[in-house]
Symmetry: C2
Subunit: 229 residues, 2 copies
């Protein structure tokens, strides 16, 4: 039986935009596993109640249920140790923790206000209402006012990518010669933007753009085939 | 014969402050190797001419000479593969590349203007003149004007550490349960500040402070015994 992965989706089930779900989807593909992505919306709490919590990604592998993208990566690495490694050793796992922490504290605070109003617009009405209420509580302003000057915010995002750019000058992927889980962590944020926000955050001349192209093409164009904004 | 490592020093040879030299010194100690640190000043080009380039760290191990901190780490890992690993696998090496790129593009541009005038003050007169000339060319202003408002710059530095802080909430070191080369890379910048700048950049309540304490104590207090500003 194929592994199931519950993925956050818009009104159109093909529009999947959660950075964390993309991390798990790419990790499943990296392991060469058969899996089925199941679209899930904020209001469908009942559908994942069996996982004992209320967020996606949730992976169901036979009688095992795993929630949380990091826990899923650890599970896949431990369970499918004969398949291509996500971390390439314990040092790589520690390194992926740092990349995750960097992305969460540096990239997410820039991307989130930029795309949040557009995320709202791709949701079903009942999910949109929930999303507006919970996110406006965090932001302290209406979604539409979270980022009123998008040009400078996009420039700020590109500037924040400098460590990634410096590293890509030395090796093609964060993982070295081939992508590792660290690459999928960062790629998740780019998929978040791609599938909600109508403008490209990157310039075509950017080394990060070329890196992202390779990941869009990976696994038979798995990510590229997903519905974009 | 003990390994030799040429380290950038102030007028007082015990004052060693290069972040890159500290990375190599900590890497040598991590490997449990016997080594001798040789103080080196900017004006002593002749002393390292044998290395075919003009910067430290330079490591001499028998008939091998290696310059550049990253090359030294790679050399030590490959040559002393039976000793404790610096990278903990190929993924860890790739991760250390990212940590290095992050520090170089994020931390260094904040620390450098902050401490540059104090670095100048610890040098011998002939080195100080060279340092002023070359660094003012890069900065475009006199060393004393590189950072005229130090309080906000220190706050900016502490804010930039957020990814490290987020990660230390999950594991005690960048390397996981024990320090790895990634820890020594970041620690190098803290030693750069410690041994040139009279104020502590960190507050004692910061998780980064506790992490730094552990590294100051590592290897019998190797780093703590060095002459501070």
């Amino acid at each position: 039986m194929a592994i199931k992965v519950y993925e956050l989706a818009g009104a159109d089930g093909a529009q999947r935009f959660s950075p964390y779900c993309w991390m798990s989807v790419m990790a499943l593909a990296h392991k060469g596993l058969q899996f089925e992505g199941i679209p899930w919306r904020f209001s469908e709490q009942d559908a994942i109640a069996f996982s004992g919590q209320g967020k996606v990604p949730v992976v169901v592998d036979g009688d095992k249920t795993i929630a949380d993208s990091w826990a899923i990566a650890e599970y896949l690495e431990a369970t499918y140790s004969d398949k291509p490694s996500l971390f390439n050793g314990p040092g790589g796992k520690a390194g992926a923790q740092f990349v995750t922490a960097w992305a969460e504290t540096t990239l997410m605070p820039i991307i989130f206000p930029l795309v949040v109003a557009d995320v709202h617009s791709v949701l079903r009405p009942e999910d949109a209402a929930y999303f507006r209420e919970t996110r406006e509580k965090v932001l302290g302003v209406p979604l539409e006012e979270a980022c009123t000057d998008k040009g400078p915010q996009m420039a700020k995002f590109r500037a924040a990518l400098e460590p990634l750019r410096a590293m890509l000058a030395k090796q093609p992927f964060l993982g070295g010669d081939a992508p590792s889980y660290s690459d999928y962590v960062l790629f998740g944020y780019f998929m978040f933007a791609r599938n909600t926000y109508p403008q490209d955050l990157l310039e075509a001349s950017d080394a990060v753009y070329a890196w992202r192209e390779k990941l869009l093409d990976a696994f038979g164009g798995l990510a590229r085939k997903s519905k974009s904004a």
